[in-house]
Symmetry: C2
Subunit: 327 residues, 2 copies
């Protein structure tokens, strides 16, 4: 059996996982879909009711039936490195590769269709609510009147992108920022705007979920209530991330969330308020974990390697017996 | 309760369904995501564990909790008709609209994530096989040697696009065509190629599935075995489509396919060979149906209207009791 990693060549975070796979003797093939038709290839035959398929990458030929799991890390666009790239070739190559892999029976971290759905912030907020995770009051709107009315009820607001784009995608990274009192909301009519009651936080929480394993890290805010300290992704890093225990209601909620979302991996961001409540901000299904592992020494890469190596076509996350009705 | 139709203004096929919805007194709202921020708007508030959302379109305001179903027909790109369209605005608007709708609890024809997966031809072929539908021997490859070897075993071949693009998307419409004997397959290395054993057909079959209802139409090939008669979509229409009965093994297979694919609607193309076997060619989850309804008088639009109007958050397709282990 083999683990397939779909990622670009520059992805050093994948290297952290490959080290553990190599150490355990698990065969690994790394493939960048961008290399298709140049240094990577594929072939699959459907005949007499069955399917036989192969991938060629890095000088190796892998039988698709021997794939234990597929880790979708930071894959390049299909055939984007071809001699004559085109939208047509990209579409044909993407359909061929992901279509065959979808039919292979391998376990996914994460399933591409589940991953696509999981990017939708409004869907995340609704699911988190249904799973019993506290969500700060949030408005997504194109109606200036609704924004003004919301700001009347929740005067201390932040504004964020709806699409939850992350810094690894630089052209779309927009930090969370505070809404000044008396803001003019008329521009809301020109594009959906996400307003959220600001959580006066004493710490940021990053909870990394790998299958059933939950690894939480906490970064204290040195001056709680500092109005400038809003978006941890853009703040100067004075405090390190430290390991922290996961409250039971959060563990139950996160496992239910992953089960409903059909995700095997998720990087959850919470804001811890003055009373210790963890407020759900978002779940990035492809969130980075290297910086947390470096600060905390938590075995995230090893956990991913173990999940990818494990036999069996089980569901990504086993449902906890309690709270199954919460979602 | 209201039916939401996501489609562009020019979509006359949607009008065929709206007629039936209007006749039955079912409220309908038609929204083109392209109109977002100009003549369409949205607003949703997440607070205290619940969600309240609204859409504004065509001068009406619809409560998302009152949506019975969403029909995704031919929606324009989100906010593509905005005064200042941009990739960023498109992404924000798409995430806001589809994210809220995904959390609304409405039934989908078709669920966007299921629809995305269902476009993958290799996945379609594998699923059809697993559901017991006959699939002509097919190879998808970037290996010239594999193509040559396949052509040795199946000398009478057709070549098609992997991405199964349809004529409604003109820049990508590539007809199915025959592979001449002794073809040079070296170009296969430059892009994935789909080769399929040609079915010597006596008829084309279009089976339109609407929930549990299957409506099949048959178009006889006037000169069976005519090597020029390969792609019905591009052939001169001499024979009309006529209603035909659905063989039991096809009905079982199609219902299992829809259930596994989580689709409420599918347009299946089959080729009927000289012995009457229906060979699965593809399932287009958004396939046109107007031309079949015009020729055959089959109540496809009415069936869609009935499915969209029906109460209950049931699964798109009820599983047949037999053959549940086939898929």
């Amino acid at each position: 059996m083999t683990v397939l990693i779909l990622t670009c060549e520059e992805d050093v975070t994948a290297d952290m996982v490959v080290v553990h796979l190599n150490a355990s003797g698990m065969p690994v093939v790394r493939l960048d879909p961008a290399d298709l038709t140049v240094s990577a290839g594929l072939s699959g035959e459907f005949a007499h009711g069955s399917f036989r398929g192969h991938l060629a990458a890095g000088g190796r030929l892998v039988n698709l039936a021997a794939l234990r799991s597929v880790w979708v890390r930071r894959p390049g666009g299909a055939a984007s490195g071809a001699v004559h790239p085109s939208p047509w070739l990209a579409e044909e190559s993407s359909q061929a590769l992901y279509g065959m892999l979808r039919g292979s029976g391998a376990r996914w971290m994460n399933d591409p269709d589940a991953a696509h759905r999981a990017r939708h912030k409004p869907w995340q907020l609704r699911l988190a609510q249904r799973c019993g995770l506290p969500v700060p009051p949030t408005l997504i709107t194109t109606f200036p009147g609704a924004a003004r009315e919301f700001a009347g009820r929740y005067p201390d607001l932040v504004v964020k992108p709806v699409s939850g784009a992350h810094p690894q995608d630089p052209p779309r990274a927009v930090p969370t920022s505070r809404v000044p009192p008396g803001a003019d909301f008329s521009a809301v009519a020109h594009g959906p705007t996400l307003l959220q009651r600001r959580v006066v936080k004493r710490a940021d929480i990053r909870l990394t979920a790998v299958g059933k394993r939950l690894l939480a890290a906490r970064k204290a805010v040195l001056s709680p209530g500092d109005p400038e300290e809003v978006d941890v992704r853009f703040a100067a890093s004075r405090e390190p991330w430290r390991r922290t225990a996961v409250p039971r209601y959060v563990a139950d909620g996160v496992r239910a969330y992953l089960r409903e979302a059909r995700l095997a991996y998720g990087a959850f961001d919470f804001a811890e308020d003055g009373e210790g409540t963890w407020w759900f901000l978002e779940c990035n299904q492809s969130g980075q974990f290297g910086f947390v592992e470096v600060d905390t020494g938590q075995p995230i890469a090893r956990s991913i390697a173990e999940w990818l190596s494990r036999p069996g076509a089980e569901q990504p996350v086993a449902a906890p017996r309690t709270r199954t009705t919460a979602c």
